[in-house]
Symmetry: C3
């Protein structure tokens, strides 16, 4: 079946047809038509503070060098030599004065320009053989890339409503406290679906349901828009009361929910952690880091949920901000990476314990990895049939519609 | 080449063309057209004696839950949740009061019926979302399943001539003494071919040729019909004399040999183990279990060979019955499982030693695993050419004809 | 894209399009149209000195038995039984009185003829079921095979200019001192490209550039024809002076350089190791073996470089000759094997130390393995673009033209 036929056949309000989760061909289209057309959140600037610091971002068959050219500029290059195609950077991260290919030593500046290699034919024009750039956008301390061969989608306008909150959280002055990887043997869409519904929380996540109250989990356990309307209605008073208190402290409480018609399904909300006065998503509700981030002078006991797109998120309390990255590797494997940020002045051991910072989402993501892999295994059966979504999976249903719409785009390749 | 072209090209009396053994596409057709249209012997009822006891039967991409609903009923369900497709049972065996999905806790009764899940849309009809049943048949203590989407083939009539012997062996009162797995890196058809000829016994199986006499191995070493007609003619007097003795004891000695035109190539015969008065297939010929099975009051020194179809067998002496299961996993891997049964009252250590029970076929199957894997490796060469069968491979030749006929079936999918 | 379209699209003087390095389909064509049409250097006769001694040569899906029938004859057979296709020899090397199949014991003489197997139908003609021969050629102690189903290419005439030098080196009286394998995870063409240019030597091979002088590496570091014309011109006087000295000693100094129009890109030259009077490619320039090979009575401080074809080479100084074999396994894996030969009378420990014999190319090949694998990884990117060759990669450029020409051959299969 072609992907067009599959798209036509897909039943509304139901999970995807099997091939969307398994087929290598559809995966190639996912990468070209969907993933490559988005701004992908890849990491925090504090990972590469010095000139020449770099790390590799690996996605599908691509390896991208993210390297600091100088104080103000970070570049993204495809990790492919213009001579005979060797990888240029071999280590996942490091520092380079110049980008020199390990094969024949073709050497590129930190701006990607090729220096004249020896012994080239007379008609060789080095200006035509600079490293291939990857679109890059750095703001609020966050690094985004876009793999597209063409113009990337508009960034500033798409996320202008996010600016105030991102700024308030002081992300640009943050540093990385912990980074953990959870490679998951499943199609990337199953990882996304899992993350944007809390229908499974009760059965699967005792720690998460310990931290968050039942009525909130039901109403918006995976962000606003994720729960049934009547549950939100019931919870609204609690939420409004909290917002009012936060605003009294001068903290912003904007709300954004974009649906399947949008480019990114972007989303933003601030809400209380729970009704037990928790300051952070920790076992005992105490801060995980002594120093609050950004402009939080007094704790508002809230958390911020941001979705840039279905594979890039930030979840932040007043003391810790967490970046979530789902990176497709192939049709059946996804790299899940969580990065926890704290204030740039915070000192490990003294101000925070990394295991405590990471606790809730580390245990929750390990649970999800198993759940998602078993979901994928079941889907391989000839008897898998798309099933209907509950009212607590509204955001998943939106995601499916968004994905099918995006897949239907046929960008010039 | 299409499978139709391959079928047309196949030379009679010769082994199969290369693609039949290697191609992933042909394997998919094997599963749909051949394997899924058969009653497959999967295990013995004593594996799941209590209500809620279950085990998983895994074949190709399918995982089937075989679970006891009550004293009288055993059900087979595809291990795929009707919600978003997760595996439901994760362990190879266990006990479940209810079948509850580990993802969002949709819960099914032991009859497969879905209990109302929370938060479903108003028009959700839970009666439409029960677990998908797998055809199942339990008789004489044996559990068979059929994967077909349509009606399964007729069972009772197909095997009615087998009833007396299966009953006489008392399989329904048996218990599992040993179960061993021999995963084999080869196409399932090579595993079958190996099992239904004794042309290789002399070169490969010293233990097997120690237990069985030469003239018998030649005449019917892989069951009746497996040897050359003149060898059978020569052996017939010995066989007839044994049958007469067995009948004097009141033991049945029926004979069934179905050819390539049949649904299953089913086969049944009883014959003496050897002419040295062996009671069992053991090193010294003594019983492997003190207690004889079923209605065997006195030992008749015979064995029973039953082929339900090319991937399911029972070989039984008076004290031990052995179930043989060849389960295709993919084009190049087959799960070989042997299960040895003894009388339900027999006690391990006191009445039988599991290693002694399993001895002959354990050592023989380990030898066959290596042989079959080397056969498969050789077939991968561009110079593999189908070769001619000897007169001692008559049953293999029949199998090839049967397989090509079955593959030519094009059931509605 | 078909391989015809890819060939048409290929830009001259640039590295190959991505699919040539990655596609499994193109690899199958490489094997059929290119590799199978060549005489492949596989090993030295001293590996199988006694009647019945054999080794396996494994390439792509093929396993070839190279076995000594008697003092004068070595045979090559496809390692596939004519009965049901089993591998016949299971060990990488050994000794066999007869070639007996481990499955049903069909037995072949060392000439490949089948002895009458038991129990075959009356019309079975054993003369039609001998082992399938692989073309084989043994000369100067070297064993070559050709996998073609048809007539192999002409050998004697193709290599007649090589005879004097091969004879002079006394290869037929040599013995194997060391053999080492460097399995490389890359397409075979990347392994070849790496071996026939010295553009990467400066950056990658400190030991190699220690042994050889800069001007020589530039002029002909990967054999004559590998460097830019002006560098050769500059080096020519040094080379000519050495040749004159060698000729005074009565040593041959022929030169062969065949281009892309030839069958094999064959090549032959003799040149000085360096200008520091090195006798061998060792750290200190002293001989690696006390005994000089063949007709070298006095050391001429030179080395001989022979290319039979792009996947088979000999590099020899006066004391040691090294065979180089690049064997394609699949589209993304190549077996690299180096075999070092010394005079047949040399004694290990007393006359040579194997580690010292192997030193330079062992360390260099380990470096190349990493380089080549990183080259291959980079080429997998969607942004890999064929790049231009330098003037020091002239021989690579020739190889690409030769390869595309050869791939365009469509031999009857
Ligand atoms: S491949 Fe990078 S310099 Fe040659
Ligand atoms: S997948 Fe089973 S309950 Fe959701
Ligand atoms: S496969 Fe070799 S003898 Fe049968």
């Amino acid at each position: 079946m072609t992907s067009d036929e599959l798209i036509a056949r897909q039943r509304k309000g139901y999970s995807l047809e099997q091939d969307f989760y398994c087929s290598e061909e559809i995966f190639q289209q996912d990468i070209k038509r969907v993933i490559s057309q988005k701004w992908l959140l890849v990491d925090h600037v504090s990972r590469i503070p010095e000139k020449g610091d770099y790390f590799l971002f690996e996605i599908a068959n691509e390896s991208i060098i993210i390297i600091r050219q100088n104080e103000n500029t970070i570049n993204g290059f495809f990790n492919v030599c213009r001579h005979r195609g060797s990888l240029i950077c071999l280590q996942p991260e490091g520092n380079k004065k110049l980008l020199s290919c390990p094969y024949h030593a073709w050497t590129y500046g930190l701006d990607g320009a090729l220096r004249q290699p020896p012994l080239m034919p007379a008609d060789f024009d080095k200006s035509k053989f600079g490293l291939q750039k990857c679109h890059i956008k750095v703001c609020y301390g966050l690094i985004f890339v876009c793999l597209s061969n063409d113009s990337p989608p508009e960034f500033d306008k798409e996320y202008e409503e996010f600016a105030e909150v991102l700024d308030f959280h002081g992300l640009k002055d943050a540093k990385i406290a912990v980074k953990r990887d959870y490679p998951t043997a499943a199609n990337w869409k199953l990882v996304v679906e899992n993350f944007i519904e809390c229908y499974h929380c009760a059965a699967a996540h005792p720690e998460y349901t310990h931290v968050h109250p039942k009525d909130q989990l039901l109403a918006m356990g995976a962000g606003p828009g994720s729960g049934p309307p009547d549950a939100l209605k019931k919870y609204q008073a609690t939420w409004d009361a909290w917002k009012e208190k936060a605003e009294t402290l001068g903290h912003p409480t904007p709300e954004v929910i974009r649906d399947e018609a949008s480019i990114d399904m972007a989303q933003l909300a601030r809400l209380p952690i729970n009704d037990r006065n928790f300051e952070a998503e920790t076992k005992d509700g105490k801060r995980a880091c002594n120093i609050l981030m950004g402009q939080f002078n007094e704790c508002d006991h809230g958390e911020t949920a941001i979705q840039f797109n279905p594979i890039g998120y930030i979840l932040a309390s007043n003391d810790v901000a967490m970046m979530v990255r789902f990176t497709p590797r192939d049709a059946t494997n996804t790299d899940v990476q969580f990065t926890w940020l704290v204030d740039g002045n915070a000192k490990e051991t003294i101000d925070y314990d990394p295991d405590n910072v990471a606790w809730l989402w580390d245990v929750t993501t390990k649970q999800d990895k198993i759940i998602i892999e078993n979901n994928f295994s079941g889907i391989l059966s000839s008897r898998y049939r798309p099933g209907p979504y509950s009212t607590q999976e509204a955001r998943v249903s939106t995601f499916i519609k968004w994905y099918l719409k995006e897949l239907d785009n046929k960008p010039a390749l």
